[in-house]
Symmetry: C2
Subunit: 124 residues, 2 copies
DNA sequence: ATATAATGTAGAGTAAACTCTATGTCAAGA
DNA sequence: TCTTGACATAGAGTTTACTCTACATTATAT
């Protein structure tokens, strides 16, 4: 089974324009049925993974490289994994930093809470 | 003690253009000494906090609102805290999602590792 | 006195990732 | 037959957050 761009837009949650843009950037390569695009079942999982890469801060350019390796098939399996391992590292560091920021934000909020309590002190 | 824009650029690690842009957006309001900007010691800490808000995904527009409350002084203390509490929530969710993504990335990498081991199997 | 360096302003340019517009083709329903 | 709706392409426009250019002014060093 395959999907027209309209159907594919619905199942992936990405706009038609965005999908065409992704195709233009060679992230996806739909088949054609007399000029009309046909997206496969497999493309759905692939879009889901693209979304994940994006959500974790991978730029389109980088995803493009990954897509190119994917298109090479098993020949580029190790290179693809290499990229994912790299990205995992990046993601790890990202999480670590955000946790650090969170801790300091917590401190700041606690401080403000003290300040505000001070204000209410003179209302017995 | 205060800083010229060049000095301030050095101590904050932000470019001069960026600092002027931040001023234009009313994130910072330096004093003037005969037309030249003078940034205070306090501005250094403020820039550090701006960087933190940015690093945790707060857009400039939002930081602008926070800056406006900050300019109102203690009168807006609770509103400022409100914003920070909101942002902490956002940050929490962000970290949670990234951890989820990380877990799935780990799975994918483990799967690839299996695949690659399979390839090496026929080289005894 | 003049060249250099650091400021200033105003506005243009850039990069990323969409998002939309204009225009055209084509099949199916009233 | 006519019109609506989904699809197509090519290219323009948008948003965010800078970043840079052009040109003017001022202070400092030689």
């Amino acid at each position: 089974m395959d999907y027209s761009i309209g159907e594919f837009s619905k199942v992936t949650g990405l706009g038609i324009h965005t999908l065409r843009y992704y195709e233009h950037e060679s992230l996806i390569i739909p088949l054609r049925n007399a000029s009309n695009r046909r997206h496969s079942e497999r493309d759905i999982a692939w879009i889901a993974f693209i979304k994940r890469l994006k959500a974790t801060g991978m730029p389109i350019k980088e995803i493009k490289k990954y897509a190119a390796l994917r298109a090479k098939g098993d020949a580029a399996l190790s290179e693809r994994m290499e990229m994912l391992v790299q990205h995992r590292q990046f993601l790890n560091e990202q999480i670590r930093q955000l946790q650090e920021h969170e801790a300091i934000l917590d401190e700041k909020i606690a401080f403000y809470q003290q300040e505000l309590k001070g204000c209410r002190e003179d209302v017995p």
